[in-house]
């Protein structure tokens, strides 16, 4: 392999030898230390052989002496390649310059990626790093991974493990958050500042279907009808002595899972006359590089709908390039007024109601009865009615501390 590379670097040719005494020619080449190989005998006293470029240039005298005719069949090697592209020096320079730029760009960090963060968003972590002088576009040797690790550990108490490393031009930061403690810390924080009770209050009228109290004193029972604003679970637990008298009050944040049957009014109306976009067929394209427009025609007066798709090229998975390509496609449109047909109005109102029901289901609300009807008029369509739901009920509301309990006389 190495020999072939060296031979290519020197250059070699395949020649055809024709003469009266080719053996004498070969012997003279050998005597003058000229190396030949792959010598083949062809018909009619013609031989073919391979030799390097220096040997070919040195055999001029031998050729004349032996009266041998030499014709070159093929040429290989770097000298011939350079001669063939002697007028393409700028192209070579451009290739080398591109390689240099690519090599230099790998010395920088072009993106910072986070893994394992669920509570803290990427943007928040990036802002934190940026405040301490670490951001994309910096040289790698200016970023100390240990410093990044200790910085994130100090800034966020609930991050228990951090690892930072370079992968190509990416700075990969893996984070492990203490998810179990986050909720506990919040609870402890709330309990620390709980000087007044927090009740659970009904935000709408309904009938209690089920009630499971976790903390607090329940004030209503299953099957009872409640009104809006009524306290469902009180955040005060009285402390009684052996005789049953209240000696003190403990305040809590009331917690309970309460489901009630509520009746909700649903109303939705859609106008027959509406505006639609009608595309005129004129399209404009534009190409952007790092936010700057490379080419693209200006828009005429009118309304245009633009769609911009952005791509960030990368060499492989770990070498993003500091470029952002964007292709913008704009379509001209005009607003035209149209009227919905009766069938279309019905379909739209039904669809809207189905979406409303779907959202309720996603929140854990069940629909027990549906009395919504659709009315189609000349100018609009209305969907109106009541919906009976089985939904969770109870919102937190701060209460007041009760007066101090009466002190018992000493016996």
């Amino acid at each position: 392999m190495l020999e072939k590379a060296l031979l290519y670097q020197k250059g070699y040719v395949r020649v055809r030898l024709k003469g009266k005494s080719p053996e004498r020619f070969l012997n003279l080449c050998r005597y003058h230390r000229l190396q030949l190989w792959e010598i083949q005998s062809e018909k009619n006293g013609v031989y073919s052989a391979s030799m390097d470029l220096a040997s070919f240039r040195a055999m001029k005298g031998i050729r004349k002496k032996t009266n041998t005719q030499i014709s070159i069949q093929r040429k290989w090697g770097l000298p011939f390649l350079l001669f063939r592209y002697r007028k393409r020096k700028l192209f070579l320079f451009g290739c080398l310059w591109g390689l240099c730029l690519l090599f230099l760009s790998t010395e920088f960090v072009w993106s910072i990626d986070f893994q394992g963060n669920r509570y803290h968003t990427d943007e928040a972590l990036l802002v934190c790093l940026r405040e301490h002088g670490i951001c994309g576009g910096m040289r790698k040797n200016r970023i100390d991974c240990n410093q990044v690790v200790s910085l994130l550990r100090k800034q966020y108490d609930d991050i228990i493990w951090v690892s930072a490393c370079f992968q190509g031009s990416h700075l990969q930061i893996a984070i492990k958050e203490n998810c179990d403690d986050i909720a506990g810390q919040k609870e402890r924080q709330q309990e620390e500042f709980l000087t007044a009770p927090i009740h659970l209050v009904a935000e709408r009228d309904g009938v209690i279907l089920s009630m499971i109290t976790a903390s607090g004193t329940p004030k209503v029972r299953q099957g009872e009808r409640v009104k809006q604003g009524q306290i469902l679970v009180e955040g005060i637990v009285p402390v009684v002595d052996d005789s049953g008298a209240v000696t003190d009050y403990h305040t809590y944040q009331a917690k309970a899972d309460i489901f009630a049957e509520v009746t909700e009014l649903y109303e939705n109306h859609i106008e027959r006359l509406h505006e639609v976009k009608r595309y005129t067929g004129r399209v404009r394209h534009g190409l952007f590089l790092n936010g700057y427009k490379l080419f693209g025609r200006k828009y005429d007066k009118g309304q245009w709908e633009e769609v911009l798709s952005v791509r960030k090229p990368a060499l492989g998975k770990t070498l993003p390039l500091p470029l952002t390509f964007g292709v913008k496609r704009a379509r001209e449109y005009e607003r035209v007024k149209k009227l919905y047909t009766t069938r279309e109005l019905q379909d739209l109102l039904s669809e809207a109601f189905q979406e409303y029901c779907q959202k309720l289901l996603e929140k854990g609300v069940k629909i027990s009865e549906n009395n919504v009807k659709i009315y189609i008029g000349e100018k609009q369509g209305i969907a109106r009615g009541t919906v009976r739901l089985i939904a969770p009920i109870g919102v937190e509301k701060a209460g007041e501390l009760p007066p101090n309990p009466p002190k018992l006389p000493k016996e």
Partner: protein
């Protein structure tokens, strides 16, 4: 003189190819032959190669004979070699 040299080389166990200039043949199977210590090429075609050596000639016969390498030190012959004949000066063959 030649016999004397040979006796001295044998007695002192000196390499004969260096002292006497004898050719060295290295053959791999019937398709590759390396020849060293030769004087020159007398004849070459696809069926036979005649090489001049110290005290005679060597004839290599076969089919599709190719000289893979030909330089000052050695010659490598490839192809289907069927016969190697050693012709000393005076016509005797071995």
């Amino acid at each position: 003189m030649g016999k004397c040299k040979e006796k001295v080389a044998t007695f002192l166990t000196l390499p004969k190819d260096v002292v006497l200039g004898l050719p060295i043949l290295t053959m791999i199977g019937g398709g590759e032959l390396t020849l060293e210590n030769f004087l020159g090429l007398c004849e070459y075609n696809a069926t036979q190669i005649r090489v001049s050596i110290q005290d005679g000639e060597m004839l290599i016969e076969g089919n599709s004979l190719v000289i893979d390498c030909y330089d000052f030190q050695e010659m490598k012959i490839g192809g289907k070699i069927s016969t190697i004949t050693y012709q000393q000066k005076g016509g005797a063959s071995c």
